[in-house]
């Protein structure tokens, strides 16, 4: 047998033996993850990485996962994603809003690699999917608790960037706090970063100095929770259970559980059934979950919150149900009307505050 035919034969044998459907003949399915911050933030990136570990655990030897953390949003992201594709990834999860254009740009160059972009809406190529969680469902629940718990009627909100996801969260929390406590006021601070512990701590400090007694955050580190604990006020964790940072302060926490989705999508790639789609799951399939509710929450409030979670799960209650006016007083949703996901004034592109919020959204 000539050497060349031997090589070809063994390559074919290998492909047969492993059942590998990959063009370059590698056996394991390689799944890459791009994180915007560090996996030790105790929040957003931590949960994505926990889900990655569960993917690895679930598939064992069949799958190889790897990740790159602290990849800045913007031009550098394109380089990092490209590099991951060149390393032979079959499936790449890009887990921050700012990776939207870079993901699509790289996807155009690697048609055989599947891309999954979190919290975005652009699927320009058949190998790009988008996925996100309906965090606003969780925010509705914590808004309700916050409205009941605040004594000063001032709730602090540390926001990251003025993108629809964050604005939705503020609106949802505000509407539900206002519903149970008409005097409630939201003090919102935009820090223009996802992860900067010092800045988040300073923002928390500024809000606490001004008399807020309940703190919500839409940034990634546990710094605001630590500051709340230090000052003896109440706070809600974000993305992950932050109980170790705020054993007394944390009332509950919205937890993002990405593992079921990541496992399902990896399975789809292995089976060859993967196709481009948009996934937007909430409390019902478990993508949005809650940490244990603190004993500080009175029994009746806890029961109401639990009921709300149930109702959102069954679909009996939608957090954005009219009548709701926009900040300028114009009608957004009429009595009984629920918000559409897409289209004009849909949830996906929400860029306005609801009536009652006094601040302005920065550009």
């Amino acid at each position: 047998m000539k050497r060349r035919t031997l090589l070809a034969a063994s390559a074919a044998a290998l492909a047969l033996a492993t059942g590998g459907a990959f063009a370059d003949g590698h056996a394991k399915t390689k799944v890459g993850f791009i994180y915007v911050g560090s996996i030790g933030d105790g929040g957003w990136n931590y949960e994505h990485n926990e889900a990655r570990k569960k993917v690895q655990e679930h598939f064992g030897d069949k799958v190889e996962t790897f990740f790159q953390e602290r990849v800045p949003e913007g031009a550098d992201a394109e380089r990092a994603i490209t590099q991951m594709a060149l390393q032979g990834a079959d499936l790449i999860f890009t887990t921050s809003f700012g990776y939207m254009d870079p993901t699509n740009a790289v996807a155009a160059k690697f048609p055989d690699v599947k891309f999954e972009h979190a919290t975005g809406y652009k699927r320009e190529h058949p190998n790009v999917s988008t996925y996100s969680a309906r965090f606003y469902e969780g925010r509705a629940v914590i808004g309700h608790i916050a409205g009941k718990m605040t004594k000063t009627n001032k709730i602090g909100y540390i926001a990251s960037f003025p993108i629809p996801e964050v604005i939705r969260g503020i609106n949802s929390a505000y509407l539900h706090a206002k519903k149970v406590n008409p005097d409630v006021e939201f003090n919102i601070v935009w820090v223009f970063t996802w992860e900067d512990a010092a800045k988040e701590a300073d923002a928390a400090k500024a809000l606490i100095d001004q008399g807020v007694d309940v703190l919500m955050q839409h940034t990634d580190t546990t710094a605001p929770m630590l500051k709340a604990e230090e000052a003896g006020i109440m706070a809600f964790g974000q993305a992950s259970d932050m109980i170790s940072a705020g054993p007394t302060a944390q009332l509950t926490s919205i937890i993002d559980d990405w593992a079921p989705y990541y496992i399902a999508r990896t399975q789809a790639v292995i089976d060859g059934t993967w196709e481009s789609k948009d996934t937007w799951d909430g409390i019902e399939p478990g993508m949005v979950a809650f940490a244990d509710m603190s004993d500080r929450i009175p029994e009746d409030v806890r029961a109401e919150a639990t009921q709300m979670i149930e109702d959102i799960k069954t679909g009996a209650y939608k957090p954005f149900t009219g009548p709701i006016n926009k900040q300028d007083g114009s009608v957004w949703l009429k009595e009984g009307e629920t918000a559409a996901d897409f289209g004009d004034d849909g949830l996906a592109g929400m860029s306005f505050y609801v009536e009652g919020l006094t601040a302005e959204i920065p550009n």
Binding site: S38, D41, G42, I188, A198, A359
Partner: protein, 310 residues
Amino acid sequence: MDLSAISPTLLLASLMVAATPIILAATGELIVEKSGVLNLGVEGMMIVGAICGFAIAVESGSPTLGFIAAATGGALLSLIFGFLTQVLLSNQVATGLALTLFGLGLSSMLGQSYVGIRPPATEKLDIPFLSDIPFIGPILFNQDIIVYVTLALVIGTWAVLKFTRAGLILRAVGENHDAAHALGYKVVRVRLMAIAFGGACAGLGGAYLSLVRVPQWTEGMTAGAGWIALAIVVFGAWRPFRVLLGAYLFGGVTVLQLNLQAAGVAIPVEYLSMSPYLITIAVLVIMSSGKAKAALSAPGCLGRIFHASS
């Protein structure tokens, strides 16, 4: 909008906290640059100080030991820079940048097992009577001890540079290393000591972040504070009190914009957020031209390599 919600007292008190890490790092760098060395590794030394301080404070339960470890860690790291630039005569700009990258990587490696832990609390120094003075009391006399150490350090630096023989030698080495060498001063030794001092100060600044201001460890938590410190040294024209002023200005803008937002004032946040960095860039650009450098009274031999034979 409710401006009355902003308490000037609390605002000034948090301003001092926000400025402290930068003052520490900038004062250290001021001494380094006064000796004629440009160490761009401040960010790296700060973050290594942050994790060293955090780790030791957690392990020992003593914030004081943590701060000592942070200073030691920063100084040791800076001596790598010192060895490369003073003994092996490598390029200071490149070596300094490399030190920053190295520090960032080293700190995240060291910090792996310290994520999500709370450090022991650094006690506030509540000076009796004085802290009860209205307005001034809470600002000046109810801070943690590092704030006072920092202020003492600035005053000390100023006094040493202005009044002591050691300060004179340091400045001589920085202004003209050949002349200082001819007079018999050990240029390399003086510079190494200055570099170590700078590293220790940067380390303290980093530990202040991880032990007091936040307090927790997250990777890359200095988030550019080292670069701000570098710019403030130039901004302050290598004078300790101007550096202090610059750091307060920077801390002030940071804290003020957060407070204004919290009070619901519609301000262009994005511009305020970027303003300290814009000023930094502007100052660095001005500094890079030779004439302006002289006008700003930069040390004469700043960034130049010294070799006794040349």
